[in-house]
Symmetry: C2
Subunit: 455 residues, 2 copies
């Protein structure tokens, strides 16, 4: 039996195994789920042993544990593939009753597996694990394999950076594979070769020392919610350009060749509507839709809260108002510098009658990969095999800052071997993973290892 | 024993009785407290029977019950005083851990009784009840008394307006007394002769159909939180004037005589700091602090919520963003017209890439009373007796829309016989009622009845 036949024979069982992992609500943002985080790490340790990894270890960190596993029996002359993933997931709060089923009770509907983490990233990292298992079980594994699976990706990956620095030998590899992105469609695979960086900040405006009666003080005491919305409104101009001074200074303009390549990224209004429900796109004039996402930076409000947010009314003049914002960054923007520019700007435009505090929370760099490396070309052939079509190259709007760390510390090229679909709704309600992607993904990952072995 | 001696002899017991009422968390805004609302109404019914009211009745309404009580044995030739109050309270959410004691476990500290509702309005309506009891127990009550105590004041009083219309005969009175405002200080009593109107609205901006990943769609899909802050920011100019077209059209300018009278309202920056913690006032240029509160309209943000508001970060592009706003209105503004102006303006400035809905929630008119009526002058003498100083006349920033209904339907003058203090922190944490105000208030209320009897 070859590994592809093994996948065909066992795919149903693999789905059931994945469901068990998805049932663990390992939400890293909410500290009350710390126990679930650990359960997910322990589940992976046990599972990686089961499939035949020769060393499996949980490394403690100041934050959540990192799961490491290796199988090095291909020998020193064979290349080593380091596979990265994360087992933590986004919260699944359901204020709008949008989830059609319990986010932590996975169900298959219409060929899709629905659960929080189905595609981001438990389902995708599990695709890699099952590919390795299929190679091992059929005696076909001719490369060395290392796994590093962390539990803090959704909260800034703060523990993995020092871990990579301190364990550069343990993690040393010829190529790093990350399965945490999407392809264009089942018929049109794609390889992400650019990721935006990110910085996440809180802006808190403080007015009076405590909530006041809006009748007794309204008009005389500056309302911090009003001050906050006026500060935030000054961060974009009427066309959607970011107005923080210096924000665009380091942004590199695309050359025409790259613009032309990126134009292959399909975009239709119909698809945007289907995926998001909006009737029209928005964004910077002069940039095509995929450019707005892939090569232009953003400044987004991710959360807003002030005063009375419950049922009905409370005529309060709030003591404080909080915004959570994040910027997606592109070459050559520096997250630390962007934090400083935003902080300076907020301080400049905050009126004297309130105080504003800007709190940088976490950040990560952007990455752009070499399209012509042997590993990238191996990935192209693997997708052609797994999905039956030559992949296009894309820039992705999301951020996977650990990619930068792998490149810089391990000096290894990173290949984004993503198997999600654009409508997988990661971070939103009804997150899903296509079972077709799961199966094709396993075969693509197997093929990638075989291509690497014969380089 | 005269009623004043009776008050002195029983004041401690009265405080204990009031504590029992304050222990009931009758929060009208939160539907889960519906049972507590009913408990508070039942408590009042029982208590009003105990003090000797001859008819006590709970009237059901489509919302929360209205407690009615009467004692009419002064006879047809004697004047009738209708005393209004409310037994519902604001929420006591304590996000900032500001409450020094449980809001529903009243405690006395430093001569003040701390609890939600201590001053607004359980403590003040209880002051009136105990004044009537003191008159009854000492055989000194020479006017007819009616009480109407509602449970929806903090959520717009929607049931009491039709109730007043339908029960105009039952409620008929020569004068209506409302104890739900503050005096300037223990040494400087004051009578509120003007109240601002109010309208409370929600503005909800809808973007995508569900929350999106801010990396995958940020820059391409209009963020409704950003759209909302830009809409809200366009509601004031840089100086704090409201920019909703037509908003000020009906606002009456004060004549110089009234401006001069109002100038007697003391204001010091030191006091503002002490009461609110802010280091500087804010507001419309060209208006004195008490004018900004008393005679100028406002548009305030009372609540804001969008996206991820929990611990840490979630890089979401939210589906919707909600603001709760309210306007305080002055003569001759019309709340219904203001709702329409705001709705029209929001519709005008909302970009096509999102949708905005303006939902008027509740509203009430402003009121200005005749300073020269015999009843107002009786109130002046009552305060002089109770507090030892001649009261000044003030315009209040808050809203008690039912006052307008009493004036219009019952054709009776309304006298604001308030006993709160400016730092009572109603609607905020650590709400209190001064026990000195409680005692002086009872004596002032007794004196007012005696003055009315001899008109």
């Amino acid at each position: 039996m070859n590994p592809y036949e093994y996948i065909d024979a066992n795919c149903q069982d693999f789905v059931e195994e994945l469901k068990a992992l998805l049932r663990i609500p390992s939400i890293s943002t909410l500290s009350e789920h710390a126990g679930d985080i650990r359960r997910a790490a322990e589940w992976l340790r046990a599972h990686l042993k089961t499939i035949g990894m020769t060393r499996v270890e949980i490394f403690e960190t100041p934050g959540y544990p990192i799961v490491y596993a290796e199988w090095l029996q291909a020998g020193d002359d064979s290349p080593t593939v380091l596979i990265y993933g994360h087992y933590d997931v986004q919260p699944a709060d359901d204020a709008g009753n949008m989830w059609q089923s319990d986010p932590f009770e996975p169900v298959v509907r219409g060929g899709n597996l629905f659960a929080r983490g189905a595609t981001d990233d438990k389902g995708q990292v599990f695709t890699q694990i099952k590919a390795v298992q299929s190679l091992l079980e059929t005696g076909s594994l001719n490369v060395n394999i290392k796994f590093i699976i962390e539990g803090e990706e959704e909260i800034g990956s703060s523990s993995i950076y020092p871990f990579i620095d301190e364990h550069a030998d343990l993690l040393s590899a010829d190529v790093v594979v990350v399965s945490d992105t999407s392809i264009q469609s089942l018929d049109q695979p794609s390889i992400v070769y650019g990721l935006r960086g990110i910085t996440f900040l809180e802006i808190e405006v403080q007015g009076p020392a405590h909530d006041l009666h809006s009748g007794m003080y309204g008009g005389l005491v500056h309302n911090p919610a009003q001050a906050l919305v006026e500060i935030l409104a000054q961060m974009h101009d009427a066309e959607g350009h970011i107005t923080v001074p210096g924000f665009y200074d380091r942004v590199v303009a695309l050359d025409e060749a790259e613009r032309a390549e990126l134009t292959k990224t399909p975009f239709t209004l119909e698809r945007l509507k289907r995926e998001t429900g909006v009737s029209a796109p928005w964004g910077e004039p002069g940039y095509k839709p995929h450019e707005r996402i892939g090569v232009r930076p953003t400044l987004e409000i991710n959360g807003l809260v002030s005063g009375w947010t419950g049922e009905g009314g409370k005529t309060v003049l709030p003591a404080k108002a909080l915004a959570k914002i994040s910027c997606r960054l592109v070459p050559e923007q520096d997250p630390v510098e962007i934090d400083r520019l935003i902080t300076d700007y907020v301080n400049t435009i905050t009126p004297d009658t309130v105080t504003a505090e800007v709190r940088p929370m976490n950040r990560g760099g952007w990455a752009v990969m070499n399209l012509n490396s042997a590993y990238m070309q191996a990935a192209v052939r693997a997708y052609e095999f797994g999905f039956g079509a030559r992949p296009i190259f894309m820039r992705e709007g999301g951020s996977i800052p650990v990619v930068v760390s792998f490149q810089d510390v391990l000096k290894a090229p990173v290949i984004m071997l993503g198997f999600g679909l654009p409508d997988d709704n990661l971070h939103g309600p009804n997150e899903k993973y296509s079972l077709e992607c799961f199966e094709r993904g396993m075969k693509t990952a197997v093929k990638f290892c075989q291509e690497i072995a014969s380089l």
